[in-house]
Amino acid sequence: MAFSFYHGAVQALCLLICAPLIAGIVNKTKAFLQKRQGASIFQEYFDLWKWWRKPVFVTKYTSWVFLAAPIVYLVTSIMAAMMLPGLLQGNIRFGDAFVFVYVLALGRFFMTLGSLDSATAFGGMGGSREIYISVLVEPAVMLAVLLNASRYGSTMLSQMVIDYNAFYFTVPAVLGSVAFFLVMLAENSRLPVDNPDTHLELTMIHECMTLEYSGRLLSYIHLGSMLKMLSFFVLFGALYLPLPLPMVVKVLMTALLVGLVEILNNKMRLFKVRVYLAAAVIMLAVAIIAQ
């Protein structure tokens, strides 16, 4: 047990260091496809360093929950990254799929509380929408777990890794990977569900919740969400993408694909997200029955 725990910690550290780079690659892809110069792929590191050095402004309305929320969010992202399968040798034995989902939910719980604690309309709006999206995403997430767990007979993430030989472009594998891709975009506040680039529009969700955070705490939130996105990329590559490629290639491919999808889509109206996620649910249900 202790040995696999050590593997998990090393893995989380590696992912933590790489996470801003992957986010930079997604941004660079978008810039390239829009014929812009774009920021360097290392820009996210500079941003994090900038926020890290700045002080945190806290209003008198808030309580300790406001300060604790970003820390809990970052820590839950790291815990989730520790549970991922497949990067290092060694079977990570505490990575259960349901625990993975609920550990991320713990981070969301605290971020939403933090948004309500600042006593502004923006915070509450972001929190309210975050909960709305998460309610719609959750059935699809559960079915995505069920798809692989009912195939391999375990909910351990390390047991659920896709077997290329058996599922090379079969119907369940393709449907599962497309559906998980849709879920991944919604879970990580990407277009077409949420727009990660805007900071002023009423359309935003995740950015809206974090509006009152500044300085070092903001850097924790950004690092946490970048790590969460990379964790989902790894999960997508390991569990759902039916291609026999090394993990690094898969993650880079996913990053390019996310960039491409983001420039091809507009943000969806908030109440259209229902239909978008219902599509994911139906695809997963068909995949589960078909296998």
Binding site: M79, F94, F98, V99, Y102, I131, V141, G153, M156, F271
Partner: protein
């Protein structure tokens, strides 16, 4: 077994508070609440001994009545004992609010209520069971009706009384049917009851309806969101946290011992009813504004999860894979235990908030964390647990339920069952996420941000006894969430050793094992790593240079008002819109002043979210009943000659029938 009589005796002594002289009513309250604490502790200790296998069962016979204890009963006695202790401790302080308002009755009946629940679980035959069940129902009715000056309370209490007696009637019917096929009404004999299939189906239907009504499953839940908020808060805690579990106990007794789960349809019905209750319960909970109604609907949700797991286990038994049903049945016990802890805790904190501010409406609260830091901390633990987050007891039960469903999907790979599991996962996924939203909303609006009315100004921290009661439950939730193995192993032990005797084998290795490998849930390890990281990160923001305190939130140069923060109604608006095809919300606009045609009119918006079951199911039934009664009036013309005529006709019929 004999020692339980001691605990029952103490409850009996506590009930004597009813007849203490009025000028000693405060003393009566303390003495009898103290007795309740001691008796509950005794029940807890004795039941744990029984669970650990140190006591070895036993039976007591008093003429026709008998008391028996086995593993299944002991598991539920642990729930009653633990929550009974904590809530009685809290009740010591909270009950003082009823000084001069029939406090002796409240405290005396409290003891009787606890005692009757212990007696239901210990009952060894149908007579004792029904007797204790009926005492439990009547005493809880009296406790709900305690603040009978309020019209709302009285109507809620009578609704509860009518509904609960319908349930008792159904259970009585089930016992009668079973007894007709057995030698006596002792549980041991009922277990060998031989019934033709049709009667067996009817008996199962009656038992399920009766116990589902008591545990508030939809569509029989309508009394629950009215009755639980109407009672004094510590009574609500006991009703939601403990009495609902007594219904689970009774249903388990019927399924495991008397009727059996060998018919596939039984499990299917229980599972589907449970899943639908879970989803709809939490959906209504996320729309309510009254703290205690939110909690009451959330009880419907959690009972739904418990019965869904129960149904899943029953299906596995019916499919001839009883050794696999252990996970699901363990989930039933573990989630019952966890839900009892967290629901008692949250009802206690709702009581504390009410005690401090005088309102249960979350729209009038806000910023309470600064006024009552300890209550807020305990409530946070309870809210996290009800949102089934890691490191709390809530996740343990939820995790086992999901694993039980997974077993069903994996081990019996027909497409129909897969479809059932897909349905279950969709609903459980929605339920889990909605529960998170519901308790973020409850906690955030009540304890965080700024006050929404001046009622918050007079809020203060609770006295020690109340904090102790809440703290005990919060501690138990955390302990169970961080080290679930002891609780889960005890509960699994129940299923393997008691008369249920489910052949467990090595199905659960460390936690769950299906196919080739086991799945491990070890929160302790994750927690340790997480705590180290949290401490490190906290250090980085601990200096004054990093945290700069600012006066007010930036609001484009103006001072933000308190009304600019989100309300609970606003928070749940997107969900209300997404699920409007189920909720059917109605908006009423009321014009208060009509002097101007176009401006200066005062408008009031009322948002109504009626319980669809009340409107669509109960109202029509009520309508038909009244109609029927109206038609029957034709025979009652009030003339004596007519009545004599009826009697004569009846006599003639009887004579003819007798002669045949």
């Amino acid at each position: 077994m004999e020692s339980f009589m001691g605990a029952l005796g103490l409850y009996g002594l506590g009930t004597l508070a009813l007849i203490w002289p009025k000028r000693l009513e405060l003393a009566a309250h303390y003495v009898s609440m103290g007795l309740a604490v001691i008796a509950s502790l005794m029940v807890l200790g004795l039941a744990s001994q029984e669970l650990l296998g140190l006591a070895g069962g036993g039976m007591l016979q008093f003429g026709r009545y008998s008391l028996v204890i086995d593993g299944w009963a002991a598991a539920f006695l642990v729930i009653i004992g633990l929550s009974g202790t904590a809530v009685s401790l809290y009740g010591m302080g909270y009950g003082r609010g009823y000084l001069g308002a029939r406090i002796r009755q409240l405290t005396g009946l409290w003891n009787l209520f606890l005692g009757s629940m212990v007696l239901v679980v210990l009952a060894g035959d149908a007579f004792t069971f029904i007797l204790a069940w009926e005492v439990m129902a009547l005493v809880s009715f009296l406790l709900v009706n305690h603040e009978s000056e309020k019209k709302q309370v009285v109507s809620a209490a009578y609704q509860y009384m009518v509904m609960t007696h319908l349930g008792t009637a159904a259970i009585l019917m089930a016992f009668y049917l079973l007894g007709s096929g057995a030698e006596s009404f002792a549980f041991a004999d009922l277990a060998h009851s031989e019934l033709p299939p049709v009667l067996k189906h009817i008996a199962f239907g009656c038992a399920f309806a009766g116990f589902a009504l008591k545990s508030g499953l939809m569509p029989l839940h309508v009394w629950l969101p009215n009755a639980h908020p109407a009672a004094p808060s510590h009574v609500s805690a006991l009703m939601s946290g403990v009495m609902l579990k007594v219904a689970v106990y009774g249903f388990g007794r019927f399924v495991f011992e008397f009727i059996g789960a060998d018919v596939f349809a039984y499990g299917l019905i229980v599972m589907v009813v449970g899943l639908v209750s879970a989803f709809l319960g939490v959906l209504y909970a996320s729309m309510e504004k009254d703290m205690k109604r939110i909690l009451a609907y959330s009880s419907v949700e959690n009972m739904g999860i418990i019965f869904a797991a129960f149904g899943c286990g029953m299906i596995l038994v019916a499919l001839d894979r009883p050794y696999l049903s252990v996970v699901a049945f363990t989930a039933v016990l573990v989630h019952s235990f966890a839900h009892s802890l967290m629901k008692c805790l949250l009802f206690m904190s709702a009581g504390a908030v009410m005690h401090a501010t005088g309102t249960r409406n979350v729209e009038l609260l806000g910023g309470l964390l600064k006024k009552m830091p300890w209550t807020a901390a305990f409530t946070l633990v309870g809210s996290m647990s009800l949102a089934s987050l890691p490191f709390t007891g809530g996740l343990v039960g939820e995790w086992l339920t999901l694993q039980g469903m997974m077993t069903l999907a994996y081990e019996s790979g027909t497409p129909e069952l897969r479809l059932l599991v897909i349905f279950a996962f969709i609903l459980l996924g929605l339920t889990g996420a909605l529960a998170l939203g519901c308790f973020v909303r409850l906690y955030g609006v009540t304890f965080l941000g700024r006050r929404r009315s001046n009622l918050v100004l007079k809020a203060h921290e609770m006295p020690f006894t109340m904090l102790a009661g809440m703290g005990l439950e919060a501690l138990a939730i955390l302990a169970m969430g961080i080290m679930p193995a002891p609780v889960v192993n005890l509960m699994r032990h129940v299923l393997v050793t008691s008369p249920l005797a489910i052949p467990a084998g090595d199905v659960i290795g460390l936690w769950w094992n299906g196919g080739q490998s086991e799945s491990v849930f070890n929160p302790l390890l994750i927690l340790l790593a997480a705590l180290v990281l949290v401490a490190l990160l906290l250090m980085t923001i601990s200096s004054d240079k990093i945290i700069v305190h600012q006066d007010v939130t930036w609001n484009c140069g103006t001072e933000p008002t308190r009304r600019q923060q989100y309300t609970a109604t606003g928070f749940s608006k997107p969900l209300r819109r997404a699920f409007d095809f189920i909720l059917k919300p109605r908006r009423e606009r009321v014009f208060l002043q009509r002097d101007h045609a176009y401006f200066g009119r005062k408008l009031h918006y009322n948002l109504l979210i009626p319980d669809q079951f009340t409107d669509r199911l109960y109202r029509p039934v009520e309508h038909i009943m009244v109609k029927l009664a109206d038609t029957l009036r034709i025979v009652q013309q009030g003339s004596v000659r007519l009545y004599i005529g009826y009697t004569m006709i009846a006599m003639v019929i009887v004579l003819i029938w007798g002669g045949l």
